[in-house]
């Protein structure tokens, strides 16, 4: 297959950056989007042009490393990560625009590579449980109902790729934060610190310069892990409850 690419090229974090045109020729229909870029890069290297820089790691849709906004949609067409987009999804001769994930809290480092460490700092502010170390407890020693376990698992599916913030017109990370708050908050191990967790993570999210939710639900539409936006509602409720406790002077 053959494609016309418009790719964002940016020398470093401070350079202005611009869209450059490239031709992708002889692309197998079953190549993944990243493999297509690998082929293009091999060609560029032969012509002594700096290859296009982009993030990737597992290439099987579970690590959350790959990013790329393809034709204005983070992770491109269909549900899933960029590495799971195959070129057969496009028509032969299509023009494809590739831009980095855009959000003020995700500064572009180079070309299509963005710095998503803001998410790490949000996790450090409460995206964990304080459990004693030691050997793993016996399975089923703490009974958890199937309904709760399923719900927590749906939230835990979040791979922290940042597509939600990249798709959001407000650059808001609320789907990511709500997934973490829900996943840990539903389970008995995470419950004791629920209030502190939601306060800490939301405050860190604000600190990092993510925007506010306007309930556009673009995040939910692009999320490769199908995290539902209803979790944002749940986080709002938990945050309000924890704030009320804090205001009246209860221990949170």
């Amino acid at each position: 297959m053959k494609f016309h690419l418009k790719v964002w090229r940016q020398k470093d974090a401070n350079a202005p950056g611009t869209l450059e045109n490239y031709e992708a020729d002889n692309i197998p229909a079953d190549a993944s989007f990243l493999e297509m870029l690998d082929i293009v890069n091999a060609g560029l290297t032969g012509k002594n042009i700096e290859p296009i820089q982009f993030d990737s790691d597992c290439r099987e849709g579970i690590c959350g490393s790959c990013s790329l906004t393809i034709n204005g949609v983070p992770h491109g067409p269909g549900r899933g990560t960029t590495c799971q987009v195959y070129m057969r999804k496009f028509k032969d001769g299509d023009t494809i625009t590739i831009e980095p994930f855009r959000a003020e809290a995700f500064p572009v480092q180079r070309d299509l590579v963005v710095n998503r460490s803001a998410f790490d700092r949000v996790i450090q502010a409460g995206g964990y449980i304080s459990e004693r170390c030691g050997s793993a407890p016996d399975a089923n020693s703490v009974p958890i109902s199937k309904v709760i376990a399923d719900e927590a698992m749906d939230a835990a599916a979040c791979i922290g790729c940042g597509a939600c913030a990249a798709a959001c017109p407000n650059g808001s990370a609320m789907l990511f934060v709500s997934a973490k708050v829900t996943h840990l908050g539903l389970l008995p191990q995470g419950k004791p610190e629920n209030g502190r967790r939601v306060l800490g993570m939301v405050r860190q999210m604000d600190e990092e310069g993510f925007g506010n939710c306007s309930n556009y639900y673009a995040c939910e539409a692009v999320c490769p892990a199908s995290v539902p936006a209803a979790f944002i509602g749940r986080m709002n409720r938990e945050f309000t409850a924890a704030s009320v406790k804090e205001i009246v002077g209860m221990n949170v």
Binding site: K6, G72, N170, D206, F210, G233, N236, S243, V252
Partner: protein, 245 residues
């Protein structure tokens, strides 16, 4: 242990301000003021619909409101405060959102966002302009000063003839056009706003969310039909013909 700036330490910033100016706090305030304004829009419609029950009912209703005296002013000031809060916190959120996403995609895609959600600020500001016009028109009555001298007899008392004012006001096609446009934009605003406020207040879950969206839109359009029925009935179907002075 998760260490968060908890107020139990009594040394951190004021927890009320901390909540109020957090992302979710600001959203909550916009949603809470929003729901109060929706209640007002409902109540106002119910009062207005008395126009279909004849001049005496509408005039008596208007007179009752006026007789509230200080309570009426308390409601008016309260509504103004709610409106100012709604707009002020929206503007704060908007400013932050602009800062959080300054570089838009060159190949822009709306990604399943609705036209209602994308135009909230625009529709809100048009509605604000419409509300100001509406107050100037029927409350302060500076658009047509002849409304000021419309009086009528009701149960032996001389009262302001609201019915005649409404009929005369809506006999004017450009005025009706302004009302229909203003109400249409209000419907746009509420089409996203009503379902959105449940999400923001956290009264939602996965199963119910799409129902909220349908119900929100249905309520918004019902309100639209209720409101426009009055100017349309006056202008096109001769409601109150002969009562206009």
């Amino acid at each position: 242990m998760i260490t968060s700036p908890s107020s139990s330490a009594r040394s951190g910033p004021n927890p009320i301000l901390l909540w109020m100016f957090s992302s979710i706090g600001k959203k909550t305030i916009v949603a809470a003021t929003g729901i109060l304004l929706v209640f007002f829009v409902f109540g106002h419609l119910l009062g207005n619909l008395t126009v279909f029950l004849g001049p005496d009912v509408l005039n008596a209703y208007a007179q009752k409101l006026h007789d509230l005296g200080p309570a009426l002013w308390a409601i008016r000031v309260g509504l103004l405060g709610i409106l100012v809060g709604h707009i002020y916190f929206t503007m704060l959120l908007w400013k932050e959102n602009q800062r959080a996403n300054p570089k838009k995609y060159i190949a822009a895609d709306p990604i399943k966002t609705t036209v209602f959600s994308r135009t909230m600020r625009l529709s809100g500001l048009v509605v604000l302009a419409f509300v100001i016009f509406h107050l100037a028109h029927f409350t302060v009555r500076v658009v047509d000063p002849s409304y000021l001298v419309m009086r009528t007899q009701l149960n032996g008392h001389e009262v302001h003839n609201v019915y005649a004012m409404v009929v005369k006001g809506f006999s004017n096609a450009p005025v009706v056009a302004i009302y229909v446009i203003g109400l249409f934009l209000l419907t746009f605003h509420l089409s996203h706003g009503i379902s959105s406020l449940f999400q923001t207040l956290g009264i939602t879950n996965r199963r119910i969310r799409s129902n909220y969206e349908l119900a929100g839109r249905a309520i918004a359009w019902l309100l639209f039909l209720g409101y426009v029925s009055i100017p349309i009935s006056v202008l096109f179907f001769g409601l109150g013909k002969g009562f206009a002075q």
